[in-house]
């Protein structure tokens, strides 16, 4: 890494940490998620009783604590799923446009640094700060759990939670890349943030409904027809990062999930309903992980090319 990029990276990281926007959002996520987890933990007996229809294998108390809801508050997982994209958008929606409007972009470009240093510093700094935040949140929650239950999590639980946090970071990276792209396309920060929020609402609320209408899962017909309708439904759903993230986190935090696609009765007969070992779960969601990575890299690559090609004159509003 060259020196100029390092200097920029440090500055960007400091900017994020000092910004109101970032601090408000992480406070929001940390508070809601922790509140949800604590309320669940206090009534963990009921939750576990409900979950004990699974007679074989280990009971994952810590994972239950993250995924279960006591009916009053959504689960920890639900809060993170809902709010994490907001964090990604908030951190990047004006990454380039604000520099442009304040006239700092031109001043930066007049220094001996490459153009890609600027956009890479923006991307990497947000990625770094956000990943650190989610890891910290995860470990904080595990620590709270130890305090409440008085027993440590199993190694597998820790592993699953850490991978879950990393996948969350990957998911947020997709939204960050989108934010950076919008910060290049739109001159005004307000337009950019509205467009990004529209995308977020679209993918988390409307897209599943649209897919249901366009490619409904057939309840009747030949097995082939039903299978093909399911394949269409899933294929379309998986174009949305929200779906992919959902599948990945469900599999990671609920070890009893054995498959993401349809299972025939033949496949189920004789299967022992045990939780899946960690590596098997990871294998199951490997395509999802790669998919999230690809989405974020592709979006970033588009921003990168756009930024490299943009005429510097057009950067003046």
């Amino acid at each position: 890494m060259n020196r100029a990029r390092e200097v920029l990276l440090k500055k960007e990281i400091a900017d994020h940490i000092h910004s109101w926007r970032f601090n408000i959002l992480i406070a929001l996520i940390a508070l809601t998620a922790t509140a949800s987890m604590v309320t669940v933990a206090q009534t963990i007996r009921d939750v576990l009783a409900k979950a004990s229809d699974q007679p074989f294998g280990e009971v994952f108390v810590f994972l239950q604590m993250l995924t279960a809801s006591n009916g009053r508050l959504p689960s920890f997982l639900a809060f993170v799923t809902f709010l994490a994209p907001l964090l990604g958008i908030a951190m990047t929606f004006d990454a380039i446009s604000s520099e442009r409007q304040k006239g700092t972009l031109l001043r930066l470009l007049a220094q001996p640094l490459y153009r890609d240093d600027i956009i890479l510093a923006k991307w990497l700094s947000s990625l770094f700060v956000m990943t650190v935040f989610f890891l910290a949140l995860g470990f904080f929650v595990i620590g709270l759990g130890i305090l409440i239950f008085g027993l440590p999590p199993s190694f597998e639980e820790v592993l699953r939670i850490v991978v879950f946090l990393v996948v969350t970071a990957l998911y947020v990276a997709v939204w960050m890349s989108l934010g950076i792209l919008f910060s290049l396309v739109f001159r005004q920060g307000a337009t950019s943030v509205l467009a990004a929020l529209a995308m977020w609402l679209f993918f988390t609320l409307f897209y599943p409904m649209i897919v249901d209408v366009v490619a409904p899962v057939k309840q009747t017909g030949t097995p082939d027809e039903i299978f093909s309708s399911i394949a269409w439904h899933q294929g379309l759903s998986r174009l949305s990062p929200a779906t992919i993230y959902d599948e990945a986190t469900t599999t990671l935090l609920t070890p009893s999930v054995r498959a993401l696609g349809p299972l025939s009765l033949e496949q189920l007969v004789g299967a022992i309903p045990t939780p899946l070992p960690f590596l098997e779960s990871l294998l199951l969601i490997w395509p999802q992980i790669v998919g999230l990575l690809a989405m974020s890299v592709i979006l970033f690559a588009i921003s990168f090319t756009l930024f490299m090609r943009q005429d510097i004159r057009s950067t003046r509003a």
């Binding site: 200097v7 006239g103 031109l106 007049a110 001996p112 640094l113 004159r313 003046r316």
Partner: protein, 328 residues
């Protein structure tokens, strides 16, 4: 006259060119922003790029920094191809954009330090350089205020410090005095002049303020519609343009009617008359005709209030070029 020309050419050959533009053009779609530009700027001089808004001055400057690729031609700065190796160029060229921006939640000092660090200075060097330059531009008291609280003039001075912190060989200032109050402009320009004289920095200054350019530039280039119409010292430009009419007279008389103007026009040596108001006019003449003008006015029974002869300045040169262009 001969002597002066030869001295000028001697000067050019002994000095090293630091900026060379050869046949540089830039097209945006069908619009030609810069057209076949040839320009050489020598070490240590203060060069004024003069022209109306939208004449292509900023485009030219950005091509020198390698931030815009010329459509044709070659831009060389300090012997380096600016298009191919912009990084090398930007190490030695400080650029102050016309509306310079700073990180508003950092202090002036922190902004300077960041630029210094980006230019490869160590933490200690950056601190030291920032302190020295803040003093130099007179911002030491405001150094630890957030840059967002700075006035336009302070921002511009901070901008100058920002361009100097890399210890440049050349500084390029794009409309540096826009929006500063007159006293601020004077201070700013004298600061630039001092810097150029003391540190031997070559200065390229773009402006549409004639008087400022006239006040501090060694040579000027007149830039209109992407084309460089004339280059030289102000005296040279005046001489070339007003060969036939090197004298200028301003007349104020009452009444100054058309018959009087017609009489004046017929005087030998007068080449042009321009009415400025109902009682004032400007005359261009081949010779010193003031006594004859005075006589004519008195014979016409008008009251002569002012008769003022003056040297040709940038105003007239600029105006003349525009006139020529509109006529063409």
């Amino acid at each position: 006259m001969e002597q002066r020309t030869s001295r000028a050419s001697n000067q050019s050959s002994s000095r090293t060119p630091v900026i060379q533009l050869e046949n540089v053009s830039k097209q945006y779609g069908f619009k030609t922003a810069v057209d076949q530009l040839n320009l050489t700027i020598y070490e240590g001089e203060v060069f004024g790029l003069l022209g109306p808004n939208g004449a292509g001055k900023t485009t030219t400057i950005l091509m020198l920094l390698g931030l815009i690729e010329p459509s044709q031609g070659k831009a060389t700065v300090l012997g380096i191809d600016a298009t191919r190796h912009p990084l090398q160029v930007k190490k030695h060229v400080g650029y102050l954009p016309d509306d310079v921006g700073f990180y508003e939640d950092l202090t002036g000092r922190e902004n300077l330090r960041l630029t210094a660090r980006l230019n490869g200075l160590s933490e200690e060097e950056a601190d030291e350089a920032a302190q020295t330059l803040l003093q130099r531009v007179g911002l030491e008291e405001a150094a630890d205020q957030k840059a967002g609280t700075y006035s336009r003039g302070m921002r511009q001075r901070l901008g100058l410090a920002d361009t100097l912190i890399k210890r440049p060989k050349i500084i390029v200032l794009d409309e540096p005095t826009l929006g500063i109050d007159p006293e601020g402009v004077r201070a700013f320009l004298s600061l630039i002049r001092t810097l150029s004289a003391e540190e031997g920095i070559t200065v390229l200054l773009s402006s549409h303020h004639l008087h400022q350019v006239q006040a501090i530039c060694d040579r000027v280039g007149l830039f209109i519609d992407g084309r460089l119409l004339a280059v030289g010292t102000i005296a040279e430009l005046a001489h070339n343009l007003f060969k036939d009419a090197p004298y200028q007279l301003k007349v104020e008389a009452d009444p100054l009617d058309d018959t009087l103007l017609a009489t004046l026009q017929k005087l030998p040596g007068i080449t042009a008359i321009e009415r400025l108001s109902s009682t004032a006019a400007r005359l261009l003449a081949r010779e010193h005709v003031a006594p004859f003008v005075a006589e004519a006015i008195i014979q016409h029974h008008s009251k002569l209030y002012t008769l003022e002869s003056s040297a040709i300045g940038l105003d007239e040169i600029y105006h003349r070029y525009f006139e020529g262009r509109e006529g063409a």
